[in-house]
């Protein structure tokens, strides 16, 4: 069964403390891996799309990387405003829908 698993479920960091979030997937024929940010009570906000192993994307303090089995979202010197739930989703061959992981709830303490 196609599956997306994110770890850790929750992460608490001090401001400026860099870390990484993991998204592992077991799908046949990956056609895109997506990262979204979701603030409480709001809809997911698009961050990145990765299509092939070795690809990297950056935006401000965030950097996403992709291998054949997993993706990492690296957060460098985070600020309190980076606190949110980060969702990973995959699109696989033969389907247009996104299959989401359960998310990582990130808290950055000042």
């Amino acid at each position: 069964e196609d599956q997306v698993t994110q770890s850790p479920e929750a992460l608490r960091l001090q401001e400026g403390e860099s870390s990484s979030l993991n998204c592992s997937y077991t799908v046949s024929g990956l056609r895109g891996l997506f990262w979204y940010r979701q603030d409480p009570g709001k809809g997911p906000e698009f961050l990145f799309t990765l299509y092939s192993a070795g690809e990297e994307k950056e935006k401000e303090r965030l950097k996403a990387t992709l291998t054949k089995k997993e993706s990492f979202l690296h957060i460098t010197a985070p600020k309190p405003e980076d606190s949110a739930t980060y969702l990973c989703a995959v699109r696989y061959e033969g389907a247009q829908k996104l299959v989401f992981g359960q998310g990582t709830r990130l808290t950055i303490n000042p």
């Binding site: 809809g43 989703a89 247009q96 992981g101 359960q102």
Partner: protein
């Protein structure tokens, strides 16, 4: 910047009542999705439209849920009758679908449903 619009933002209803949610996608987006997100989990697809046609409704509980997109623009998702387990966030997303396999889905703010 164009956004996906949803209404209402919040809905409280009693079980066995009917509820309806509305979504207006980004202008020009042919593909529209309805997702359900239970607290603490990721969104799960309920139904996908390409223009006015249903592409995927395999996860839609058809005994109580219905969705339509009559003119291929805005869409309505209905639940009748609502059950306690339907309490969740209902998210609408859209994409251009010129090459759907590479298109990004943009989400609206969601409708938070509470069934009492």
């Amino acid at each position: 910047e164009a956004e996906v619009a949803q209404s209402p933002r919040y809905k409280i209803t009693e079980k066995s009542q009917a509820v309806a949610f509305w979504c207006d996608p980004i202008s020009g987006h042919a593909t529209l999705y309805w997702y359900r997100q239970i607290l603490g989990q990721g969104p799960e697809l309920l139904v996908q439209f390409q223009d006015e046609s249903v592409v995927d409704d395999s996860q839609l509980p058809k005994d109580r849920f219905s969705a339509e997109r009559l003119k291929g623009v805005d869409s309505t998702l209905k639940i009748q009758p609502a059950e306690l387990g339907d309490s969740a966030m209902y998210l609408c997303a859209s994409s251009r679908a010129l090459d759907a396999k590479k298109e990004t889905q943009y989400f609206g703010p969601g409708t938070r449903l509470l069934v009492l």
